[in-house]
Structures are given as structure tokens and as C-alpha cells.
């Protein structure tokens, strides 16, 4: 456990170094002390971007690992289950109504995105569950349906709203980590850090549920309560990340499986491991997105999608082999 987390922490630090050093403008570490332009570039643009990448990556990977365990389905992730889609629809509505609205001090985009994610996860769960069994096919298909509905909803809003809002929605939807300044990151962490910790605290219960729901119940886990808490936490985390970075796909699918392959199935290692590796993964994906084109940059969502789609198909194939036995 300690060894696993130490290795992943070192990898995360290395990824951060890579993420901070690459970009359209080369920044020499020494110039940070002399040159105010470099300093501005570094502290207002590059550092926030790397930090946002790590927060979003951690969040998606952690929720992916938790949802896979909760639904006992290796193909579950915020993206495939439509949770991100639901969040995106909620956020789009908020954007169309005006970015800056706040209700009781909470930005409307956050709140709407959380509500959308919550509706999506509840919907998918209700459809896929019969008694103590979550039907794997129904789970993923209802995820697909929720995604389609959400996408149609977003499209409708883009069509109806004024052109500048529509453009903002479009740019944000592709998934981008482009932000200015450290302030928004601090605000996100206020919500995310407690939610991460709460989810990590449920690792053991989730580990037992991943084995079997009835087993978990007879070992003293209150499955219904645990499920409700995990749903809410995942919707909250995804809601916040989606409203900040758009719907970045497949991070929650790839990362937990990578941790499993390296360190085994125990969720008590997979979840904290995913938190660390998810951050590293998205930082590197974003570094790639920023540098792969000779001029301009690719949306990071495109990179994770290109990497994640094949992984999804491979997992699907492997699962059919289990099922055949």
C-alpha cells in the first residue's frame, strides 16, 4: 500500500514537472526570478492549468473507480454512465442563463451541473437495478441513452441561445483546462477535497460491494446507505469538474484499470492510487494536447477520448471472456 502510493506520488511529481515545462512558450526556471513576463505566464497560465488538470484528472479517476465498484462493472465511468453528460446539460442551461449568476453564494453553473449529474446517476441506477442485481447491459445502455438525451438537450440550448453563449458552451464542452489565475482552483478544492476524502473513507465498504452486494451486507456494510452516499459524492465531484473543465471522457475508465493492473484489485489501494495516477494522466494528456500541433492546441478531451475508446473496447472483449467461463 505505502509502496504503491509512493511510486504513484513520484510519478505525479514527474508529470507535473513535465506539464510545467512544456508549452507554446519555453520558460526557463531561472527567468522566473528576473522576468515579470515569464512570471506572469507561469503563475497566471501554466501553473493553474497543470493544477486544474491534476484536480480534474484525480476527480474523474476516483469517481470512475468508485462507480466501477458500486455497479460491479469494469466499464463504468462518469462518462460512459452519462453522469458527465447530465452534468454538462445542467451546466449548459446555467451558461445559457448567464455565467455569473449565483444562488446563495454558489455559482449557478456548479449547482446546475451537480443537479444534472445527480439526475443522470439516479436515472441510470434505477433503470439498471432489479433487486440486488445491477444488470450490466442495461447499465451501460441507459448510460448511452442518458448521454444522447443530454447531448440533444445541449444542442437545443446552443441553438436557442444567443451566439456568444453558444460559442462559450461549444468551447467548454469539448473539454479544456484553459483557465487564468489560481482563484478558481481554490474555490473548487473547497468542495472537492472534502468529497475526495469522504469517498476514500468508503474504500473498504466499496471493496466489499465490488466483490458482491449480499456479501457486503452480511459482513456488516449498510449497502443502501453507502450507495446513496457514493452517488451523491460522485455527482458532486463530477458536477464541479464538468462545470470547470467540460466533459473530459474516459479518464475514469482507464486510470483505475491501470492501477488495478499494477497493484491488484483491492479498492483500498485502487481508489487512492486512481486519485494520484488520474492527476498525472490528465497532466500528461494535456501536455501532449498543447504540444502535438505545430501551432495551436488540441482539446485535451480529444486525447483522452482517443486513448480511452480502444481501452473500453478491449475491456469489453475481456469481460465477455469472463462471462463465457
Amino acid at each position: 500500500m505505502v509502496r504503491a502510493l509512493a511510486i504513484l506520488t513520484l510519478f505525479l511529481i514527474a508529470s507535473m514537472a513535465v506539464g510545467l515545462s512544456v508549452g507554446s512558450q519555453h520558460i526557463d526556471p531561472a527567468s522566473l526570478f528576473r522576468d515579470s513576463f515569464s512570471r506572469t505566464l507561469f503563475f497566471r497560465l501554466r501553473l493553474p492549468r497543470v493544477l486544474l488538470g491534476s484536480i480534474v484528472g484525480s476527480s474523474l479517476a476516483l469517481t470512475g473507480g468508485a462507480l466501477q465498484a458500486l455497479f460491479r462493472n469494469p466499464l463504468a465511468d462518469p462518462y460512459t454512465l452519462g453522469v458527465s453528460g447530465g452534468g454538462a446539460l445542467g451546466a449548459s442551461i446555467a451558461i445559457a442563463l448567464g455565467w455569473s449568476s449565483r444562488v446563495a453564494g454558489i455559482p449557478l453553473v456548479f449547482a446546475a451541473s451537480f443537479a444534472g449529474a445527480m439526475v443522470a446517476v439516479s436515472l441510470v441506477r434505477t433503470i439498471a437495478r432489479t433487486g440486488a442485481v445491477v444488470l450490466p447491459g442495461a447499465l451501460l445502455l441507459s448510460g448511452v441513452a442518458v448521454n444522447l438525451i443530454a447531448a440533444a438537450g445541449v444542442l437545443t440550448i446552443e441553438y436557442l441561445t444567443d451566439p456568444s453563449s453558444a460559442l462559450r458552451i461549444l468551447r467548454w464542452l469539448i473539454g479544456s483546462l484553459d483557465i487564468v489565475g489560481l482563484q478558481p482552483i481554490g474555490r473548487m478544492l473547497w468542495v472537492l477535497a472534502p468529497a475526495w476524502l469522504a469517498l476514500l473513507a468508503l474504500s473498504r465498504q466499496l471493496n466489499l460491494i465490488a466483490i458482491d452486494e449480499d456479501t457486503a451486507a452480511t459482513l456488516g456494510v449498510n449497502v443502501r446507505r453507502c450507495e446513496a452516499i457514493v452517488h451523491t459524492l460522485c455527482a458532486l465531484i463530477v458536477g464541479v469538474t464538468v462545470s470547470a473543465g467540460g466533459a473530459i471522457g474516459f479518464v475514469g475508465l482507464i486510470v483505475p484499470h491501470a492501477v488495478r493492473m499494477m497493484f491488484g484489485e483491492d479498492l483500498r489501494i485502487v481508489l487512492p492510487g486512481s486519485l494520484l495516477l488520474g492527476a498525472a494522466f490528465l497532466i500528461l494528456a494535456d501536455a501532449l494536447a498543447r504540444t502535438v500541433l505545430p501551432s495551436g492546441e488540441l482539446p485535451v478531451g480529444a486525447i483522452t477520448g482517443l486513448a480511452g475508446g480502444p481501452v473500453f473496447l478491449w475491456l469489453l472483449r475481456r469481460r465477455q471472456q469472463y462471462a463465457a467461463m
Binding site: 465490488a210 484489485e265 469472463y322
Partner: protein, 258 residues
Amino acid sequence: MPDWFEAQHLDYSYANGPLVVRDVSLASTPGTMTAVIGANGSGKSTLIRMLAGLLRPRAGKILLEGILFEDWQPRRRAREIAYVPQSTAAAFPFHAIDMVLSGRTPHTLRFRFESVADVEKAREALETAGAAHLAGRSFTSLSGGERQMVILARALAQEPRLLLLDEPSSSLDLKHRAALIRALAGLSEKKNLSVIMITHDLQLTGAFDRILALRCGEMAAAGTPDEVLRDDVLRDIYSDPDVHARRIGDQTLVWVDL
């Protein structure tokens, strides 16, 4: 002295359907083995799932040490009662030893990993279940019978005082069936383990102290094997006039005319 584990007048219905278990009572004292028999759909699994705390009875109550089931803290109750389901599906390739180790959960601190002593107990449990050779295998690669042995080991690692089993022998071969019953009888005698087990294999029930028979959710018969494994009683339980039971030595042979 009240019975240590007691179910009184249990009723159960799924959603708003008809009662699938009606007015069933049973009791178990430490060190006794009870078999639950009955035709398919007679409510056996529903009954045992209520006893395991997985379903809440519509009416009636379950008492453990005289205390209502709902009043037990789930973790404390998990140290008393373990449950072996009919089959366990596996979505992730957990190692068999890790599955067994999960049985130690009610005994370990919440934010601690299992200790070396826990691993030792898990290995012992695998040994008792006759599955020591499966420890390093991935659960998804095991056959139905092998999975059943691993799940039994997990329940044993839980060190319960009452073990509930839902047709554990159905996917086991002849040799492993006998080994299972011997293991359970040994634990019952040496460690005072109580066993309540559903089975279709009436030959095995001769080794039990008591048999409870269900028919259409109601108690059709209850008593010692000698009292229940008789032509007239069995014909009534299975609603089939061609069932026969014969005593051969200390075994009872049950068959149906084809």
C-alpha cells in the same frame, strides 16, 4: 432459557405480491445442524435471506441472544452470523485468498488492513473448506464448485457462531459434498458452530440434527431426520405419491419412482 437464535412467525412477500413465506418459525442452539428442505419455489431461499438479514420480514421477528435483529449493530451481527449464497458472480478478478480475507472485515478496525493473523485465519479457513490449493487463483477463473468452496472459506474466516448456507452442495461433486458435510459436522462438534443449510440432497440431511420442510412457503414438517425422512411426510412435502424413503444402516435412502 430462551433459544440462542430464534425466528418467530415470519412472513414475507416481494413488493405487493402474495406471501412467499407464511408463518415460519425456527430456532437454533449452539452446535446444532438444521437442514431446510422443500420443492423449488417453496420459499427456502427467501427464508434464509431473512435469517441473514438481507430481507426484512413483513411480519414476525428474529432474535439473536434474545435481542431483536434490527437492534444489533450490523458489524457486531456479522461476527455472529455468516451467509453462503447459492452462487457468487464476480465482476473483478479478485484472488481467492482476498475473497476469503474479506470475511475478516467485521473483526478488523475500520481503517486498518487485515493483519498477519487475519491472513493466517484466512488460510486456515481455506484449508478447512478444502480449497487451500485455490488461494492464489483469480476468482473469475474458478468453476462453480470451486467458487462455492472459496465462498464457504470466507464464511468460515468470519468465525461466526451461526452459518447459513443456501444450497452449497448443488454445484459440488460427490466427494466434495461429503467433505462439506463432514467439515460442517466437525465444526459444529468442536467449535459449537450452528448450521442452517438449504439442500435438495436429502441423503445429506441424515447427518443433521433437525430438518425443517417448507411447502408453498408454509412449514410442512419439522423434526429429527427420523421423523421427517418418511414416505408419508416426504410425499406430502413434495406433493408426489411416488417418493420413497428407506433406512439403510444409519443412512436414509430417498428416491422417486420414474
